[in-house]
Amino acid sequence: MKAKRDILVIDDEAVVVEGVARICGFQGLSVDTADNGAAGLEQLDRYAYRLVLCDVMMQTLDGFQYLAEAARRSSRTPVIMITGYATVENAVHSLLCGAIDFIAKPFTVDELLAVVQRGLNYGRLVEEEAPAAGAPSPRTNGPTPHYRLGPVSWAAIEPAGTALIGVSDVFVRTIDGVQRVDLSSAGSELVQGNSCAAISSTNALVHSVMCPLSGRVLDANARVIAHPDILASGPYADGWLYRILPSDLKYNLRWLQAGEASPGRGDFR
């Protein structure tokens, strides 16, 4: 039985590793660091971590290679990617490779704490719903047919060519109580992989929702703004965020996972 630790930070930039370690340390979390993917994997073999924060661009074993290697070792530790080269492709690619979320450098303390909080909660959900290793992971569900951007957000293509986008139930469950939802107004352009909504939680953290599709906002759901709690009760029904006119659907869909046909509980990732 491996010794339990809270967080492993993998980044070749010392100031970033130290900063993250220090902030998490203030929160009473135990933090280990590694300066490349290979060293990170060694740490992963030694301890049982609750969460891994991993840089995308590193000299020895980059973030994507780390994700593949961790998956090969059947690691159930959730991974959140960090990168200084915040392209949309990097963000959505990370989620396709198994990361649960993404944070772009540079970030503030609150942004980091929000994503760490979600990561820890996600790990707890995995443990609660599938305590034995190898058993199925906790599941998400959503409207059919729909596409998912990792465990973060979903998009459903409507017959008229428009798309509904929303936040996944898992994402909402990793937030400690939705207090407020801030949405962009109709007419604004959303870009896949960029933040499209800010959800404030009761513990005063602000959580960015990564947008699953690029397009122009036709309608922002006023009911969600007025009653943030419907996000938790029906994230795939009344709790949708936007109705958009997709601008580059074909390209965007390459980065999304198709949701399963039957309604109910889908894979976490």
């Binding site: 930039e13 100031v15 970033v16 900063g19 993250v20 220090r22 902030i23 203030f26 661009m57 200084g84 080269y85 915040a86 392209t87 772009a104 450098k105 540079p106 970030f107 503030t108 303390v109 609150d110 980091l112 962009s184 107004s185 007419g187 604004s188 352009e189 870009v191």
Partner: protein, 621 residues
């Protein structure tokens, strides 16, 4: 080198042709001249022969040899006659103007005999041709003509008193008259010489004239073209040729100039896209490299901000650090966005507030440079749909440029804002266009003022080419991809499906030329004049929407100004006048941002007086 010269070759070809033609003409002429002279001489000789025959016939009948002798001697003594003789059937010379010959036998193979004696039995009668012979004696220079006249045995001969000839004899003898052809040959020689001299002079004259003409009309223009191609090959695409001439070479010159012009534009675009690609790589590198240290600054400063909630004096300062670091993050992000030409994130914002924010960033630096800042902000600006971060960046860049232009010795910067209403003509961009069969007409590769043009195919007679319509409605900076003759009717068609775009029964209200039309999927039809040079356009739907509201921001400085030759280049990436201090990206980024907002940027500048940048952003996108 001279052998490869096209003028030399042309002249040579014409001269050789002329030489051949004139030579053939001269040959035929000389032959005909010589023949007719000979015929004349033959006739003359025949006459003499007849005269001698007639003169001696009677004496023969009377058998008066002395009188015959005398007659022949006298006739033969004339200067135009060399010799007259009479031979009997056996070939013996009976009478001759040359007394030494008399009594001698003539060889039957001799000149005068072979005519009849080349066969056996000999010919009894002869035509004119057979009677005449022209020959040259080895000892003499000129030719000689001989004519023989057979003496036939007639009734009067055998019935004559002398009974010299029996009745059975057919031919009694032969008159042989020999004339010298020296005069004739001389005449012929002179004639030939004249013709040869004429031919040579004609060929020479022709060669000279052709040479001059070819040099003037072919050689020089071709040489000029050659020089121009060498200039172009060496990279000088601004080199042009004189295109005054009206002939094919003039057209070639015009085509050449047109081609270099197009090449120059293409090179500029490649250059520009290369620069943009380099900018993209640079931006990506900068983003990666800068974001790491920025993470240190932002995490620690935001951490300190949290820890100093109870110390207001520190807290306020840290707030500035965090806010400005976040702005840095925005700048790096927008640099990446610019490199990727991404859409700005727009929301309704107060432009005056953004101006104030931008000014507060640079205020301190301006104060250090003793720059006086004037604000003339219109308090009634409408909320404008913009990306506030990007517009703030535009303003900060413009303000920093203004401060740099003023230098350390002080000056004034005036920032003003105003709302103005502009006619849609010249400010509305045609962003989508299609033919009646819904083919896209927008061409990304050929840009007008940086914006994708509307590409149409133009047909004029058998010529075809593209026309690039200025995407700014009504601005009229169209470009012809091909030069058509002035005044010819041009048909415009869809480049994809060749469906005609011409509107029947309608003409341009300005110049009465034909008009074209294409659809705008988002609303309406754009009509325009098909004649190059006429910029008339009509887009009723936009005209009907009335004037468009713009927020105008002016940044005026009393700095050094921008020289006129630099004005065209200031928006190019990496163009900088600040030396190692500048990256040359500032105005390129500004241009990209303003363009992404469908706005306009203009500059007014006078060296030594100052510069004003005018940015206009539509209130509604």
């Amino acid at each position: 080198m001279i052998r490869r010269n096209i003028g030399f070759k042309l002249t040579l070809a014409v001269s050789v042709t002329a030489l051949l033609t004139i030579s053939i003409f001269a040959y035929v002429n000389i032959q005909s001249h010589s023949r007719s002279l000979l015929v004349e001489v033959e006739r003359h000789a025949s006459q003499i022969s007849q005269t001698v025959t007639s003169s001696t016939e009677y004496d023969m009948l009377l058998n008066e040899p002395a009188r015959i002798h005398e007659t022949i001697k006298r006739l033969g003594g004339q200067p135009s006659i060399e010799r007259i003789r009479i031979m009997n059937k056996t070939g013996q010379v009976i009478y001759s103007s040359d007394a030494k010959e008399i009594g001698k036998m003539v060889d039957k193979s001799a000149e005068s005999c072979v005519r009849c004696h080349f066969i056996d039995p000999p010919l009894k009668s002869l035509g004119m041709k057979e009677r005449t012979r022209v020959f040259q004696r080895p000892s003499e220079h000129s030719r000689t003509l001989g004519i023989i006249t057979p003496i036939y045995n007639q009734a009067s001969c055998w019935t004559a008193a002398c009974h010299a000839h029996p009745q059975a004899q057919t031919i009694l003898g032969v008159f042989d008259v020999v004339l010298p052809l020296a005069e004739v040959d001389k005449e012929l020689w002179r004639g030939q010489m004249e013709i040869v001299i004429f031919a040579i002079s004609a060929v020479l004259l022709l060669s000279v004239i052709i040479g001059i003409v070819v040099r003037r009309w072919v050689d020089l223009p071709v040489k000029e073209l050659l020089a121009a191609t060498q200039h172009v090959a060496s990279g000088d695409l601004s080199y042009t040729i004189d295109e005054q001439r009206e002939d094919e070479l003039g057209m070639l010159a015009r085509s050449f100039n047109h081609m270099t012009n197009k090449l120059s534009e293409a090179r500029m675009q490649i250059f520009q896209s290369d620069k943009l690609a380099a900018l993209g790589r640079l931006a990506a590198g900068v983003a990666h490299e800068i974001n790491n240290p920025l993470t240190g600054v932002l995490t620690y400063s935001s951490l300190m901000l949290k820890q100093t909630a109870d110390r207001p004096e520190l807290h306020a300062d840290l707030e500035v650090v965090v806010r400005e670091t976040l702005r840095c993050r925005g700048i790096v992000k927008s640099l990446l966005d610019f490199a990727r030409q991404s859409v700005p994130k727009k929301s309704a914002a107060d432009v005056n507030e953004i101006i104030q924010r931008a000014l507060s960033v640079v205020e301190r630096q301006l104060a250090l440079n003793q720059v006086v800042l004037e604000r003339r902000l219109d308090p009634d600006l409408p909320l404008t749909t913009i990306d506030a971060n990007q517009i703030e960046q535009v303003l900060i860049n413009l303000l920093v440029n203004a401060a740099d232009a003023i230098g350390p010795h002080g000056g004034t910067i005036m920032v003003s804002s105003a709302v103005l209403s502009l006619s849609p003509v010249g400010v509305t961009q045609i962003k989508q266009a299609c033919c009646p069969k819904r083919h896209n007409l927008i061409d990304d590769t050929v840009r007008t003022d940086g914006k994708p043009s509307v590409r149409l195919k133009a047909r004029c007679g058998r010529d075809e080419g593209f026309v690039y319509v200025d995407p700014m409605y009504g601005k009229g900076a169209h470009r012809q991809g091909v030069a058509f003759e002035e005044g010819k009717t041009v048909q415009l068609v869809c480049p994809e499906c060749s469906v005609s775009l011409m509107v029947e029964k309608e003409t341009c209200p300005l110049c009465q030329s034909g008009i074209y039309a294409f659809d705008i999927p988002s609303g309406g039809i754009v009509k325009g004049c098909s004649r190059a040079g006429c910029g008339w356009q009509q887009w009723s739907e936009v005209d009907a929407s009335g004037n468009k509201e713009f927020v105008e921001i002016r940044v005026r400085d009393t700095g050094c100004g921008i020289p006129e030759e630099a004005l065209a280049k200031i928006y190019e990436p990496f163009y900088s006048t600040k030396g190692p201090k500048g990256t040359g990206l500032g105005l390129a980024v500004i241009w990209g941002i303003v363009d992404n907002h469908n706005g306009m940027i203009e500059v007014e500048s006078a060296v030594g007086v100052g510069t004003t940048f005018i940015v206009r952003i539509p209130v509604k996108p």
